[in-house]
Each structure stands twice: as C-alpha cells, then as structure tokens.
C-alpha cells in the first residue's frame, strides 16, 4: 500500500513538474512577443518580426518549431528567443518551408543535415541519446527496486525483542523497582 502511494506520488510530481515548466515557458515567450508588438512598431524589435502566413493554420506549427529548435550561435536560446542574424535567417527559412507544405519532420531533417543534431532541443532517440531518454525510467526502476528490497526486510517493530520488552516491562515490578532506584540514584547524585 505504502509502496503504491509513493509510486503514484512520485509519478505525479514528475509529470506535474514537466507540465509546469512547459506551460510557463510557452506562455512567457508568447506573452512577451505579443506585448512588445502592441507597444512598439514591430520593425523596431529584432526577433519579434511579424510573420505573415498565407494560411493561419501554419502559425502554431511555426511557433512550435521555433520553440523546439536551437540557435546554433547563441547556444542556450531557441530560435524564438534569439535575435542573432543566423536565427533570423533560420526563422525565414522555416517560414518558407512551411509555406512550401513541408512537414515538421522534413523541416527538422533539413536543418539537422546542415547544423547536425545539435539544433534539436528535443533530440531523437538513437544510440547517443538512449541513455538521456531512458534515464528517468531507469531512475524510477531503481527506486522501485530499492523500495521493494526495503519492504522485504522485516520491520523494526516486528522485531522479536522489542515487543517482549514492551509487554513485560510495565508488569515486571522488580524491573520497575530497579528503574526507580537507578533514577533515584541518579537524581541523588545530581
């Protein structure tokens, strides 16, 4: 029972934490772009250029791709965040490819063949990344293993000697007497 609760709890916190991170990231950057556009002329803000699509349904995909693709020059930013020239070029390329009806996978492959896997913030599962993708599962399994081993060992309260003492000591008058004497001695000494 305790095991199941612990497991559920850990899974829940894990899922919740990733969701929270995702939603705050997305909300933060989108809000920033919208508010900037509202205040100043969009041309004045590099990296927040207004992108016109022939079909509005391309826009969510565009934004999703910018979130998931990494700027090759400024390495800790994605293409949506970065205003380096290379990111501007790549945003324009992605827009062009979307207009040409390329799929997300084709677009990512196009960039991967030029900038290597480095550009994918969500790396593919392959021989270099299996450990990265698999480590959460491994850690959960390891935790389960430890829990199982821990539960299989006899609990301290089930230890034979402890209840013996508990049961007998209150009724054992000679022990009580001795205890009182010892305590009394100690108090006298102090």
């Amino acid at each position: 029972m305790r095991l199941a609760v612990l497991l559920l709890l850990s899974l829940f916190t894990f899922a919740a934490s990733t969701e929270v991170v995702k939603s705050t990231e997305a909300a933060g950057s989108l809000e920033a772009i919208e508010s900037l556009e509202a205040i100043e002329s969009p041309d004045a803000i590099k990296g927040a250029e207004v992108v016109a699509f022939s079909d509005e349904s391309l826009r969510p995909r565009y934004q999703q791709l910018l979130q998931e693709l990494r700027c090759p020059k400024c390495q800790n930013q994605n293409l949506a965040d970065s205003n380096s020239p290379i990111s501007q070029d790549l945003r324009r390329e992605i827009q062009r490819m979307l207009e040409e009806q390329m799929t997300d996978k084709q677009i990512k492959d196009y960039l991967k063949s030029r900038y290597s896997e480095f550009i994918l913030y969500r790396p593919e599962v392959n021989k270099n990344t299996w450990l990265l993708w698999g480590s959460p599962v491994l850690v959960v399994l390891l935790g389960l293993l430890i829990l199982l081993r821990h539960n299989r060992q006899p609990k301290p309260s089930a230890n034979k000697e402890v209840p013996k003492v508990n049961k007998e000591s209150p009724s054992n008058t000679s022990d009580q007497q001795r205890l009182a004497e010892l305590l009394g001695d100690k108090e006298n000494q102090q």
């Binding site: 020059k73 390495q75 991967k112 900038y115 290597s116």
Partner: protein
C-alpha cells in the same frame, strides 16, 4: 559486503566528478559537423568581383580547395587574413565565400589586405551559408577534388590549426608534400 555497499555513493560521486572534470576541457561552441564526408552543397550565386558572373560548385570541382567563409564585419577574419595570404602563396587554392556582406566594402578589403582567393562567392543573403550550416565567420572547409568536404574548421585558421588539423589531410588528398 554491506560495508562495501556503503562506498557506492562515494564511487558514484567520484565517477560523476570525473565526467564533469573532463567536460570542462570541451569547447561547447565546437559543434559536431553534419557535412564532413558529404558533398559540397550545390549553389548558384554571383561572384564578388562581377555581379553578372554566376559561379557554382562546378567552378572548383576537380581541385582540392579551401573554402573560406569571411565578411568585413567579422573581426576574427582580420586576424585570419594574413594566414590565408600565406597559404595562397604556398599554392593552396582558396575559394572565398563572402557571407552576408556589402560588395563595395568587401572589394575594398581585398584591395587593402591582399586577395588570396581564386574567386569569391557573393552570398548576400546567406543562403549557401545555411546550406553549409555556417553559424559564424570565419569558417573554413577543405574540399577534395570530388567535391567532398573533408574537414571543417569553425574559427580562425592559423599556423597551429593548419598544422594540426589541415596539413595531413591536405597532403594526403593532394598527394604532395607542401
């Protein structure tokens, strides 16, 4: 056995520390190149000196060349330029890729500092740059006679880099001693 198990956390810690220690020496800006071993991308761009003259990869296929990505706005290119002049004097064929630059400024640069290039590709919009996966200048590619990229250097090529990264491959594919 149980006593030995107590050392597991210590072993893990030491292991992790070693991994991180070796990570310190790695240059995070040194990206794996997707193009080494691949053919030089097909392109069709004006040359720097003559707007009407269109150059393609066919113009250097058949030769072992260095393709050097440079621009007047690129500070490190100033440092690199004397090395390119020197290599050119030694007979290394160098093709320039003038990347997202102004034509007049680039021509003035060559007039002032010397022109080590066989010719220059004028890539104002950076389209060939994207096909090459250029993310900063200078970059230098060693392309063999079959048009295959054999080595890529992001950053300045100086004597040390030439000796350690380029020379052996260059001599091997040209079959010459420099």
């Amino acid at each position: 056995m149980n006593r030995l198990a107590l050392f597991i956390p210590l072993a893990l810690f030491v292991g992790l520390s070693l991994v991180l220690l070796f990570g310190l020496d790695k240059d995070p800006t040194d990206l794996p190149s997707a193009l080494v071993g691949e053919a030089f991308p097909v392109f069709n761009l004006p040359s720097l000196k003559d707007e009407q003259n269109v150059v393609t990869e066919q113009d250097f296929n058949g030769d072992v060349v260095l393709v050097n990505v440079w621009a007047t706005w690129c500070f490190a290119c100033r440092i690199e330029h004397p090395m390119l002049n020197k290599l050119s004097e030694q007979g290394v064929k160098i093709i320039g890729l003038n990347y997202k630059d102004q034509r007049a400024g680039a021509l003035a640069w060559l007039a002032e500092r010397g022109d080590p290039y066989q010719f220059n590709i004028f890539d104002a919009k950076g389209s060939l740059g994207i096909d090459l996966g250029v993310y900063g200048a200078p970059e230098t590619y060693l392309v063999d006679a079959d048009g295959i990229i054999r080595h890529r250097r992001v950053g300045v090529v100086d004597d040390r880099v030439w000796e350690s990264e380029f020379r052996a491959i260059y001599e091997q594919i040209t079959g010459t001693e420099q």
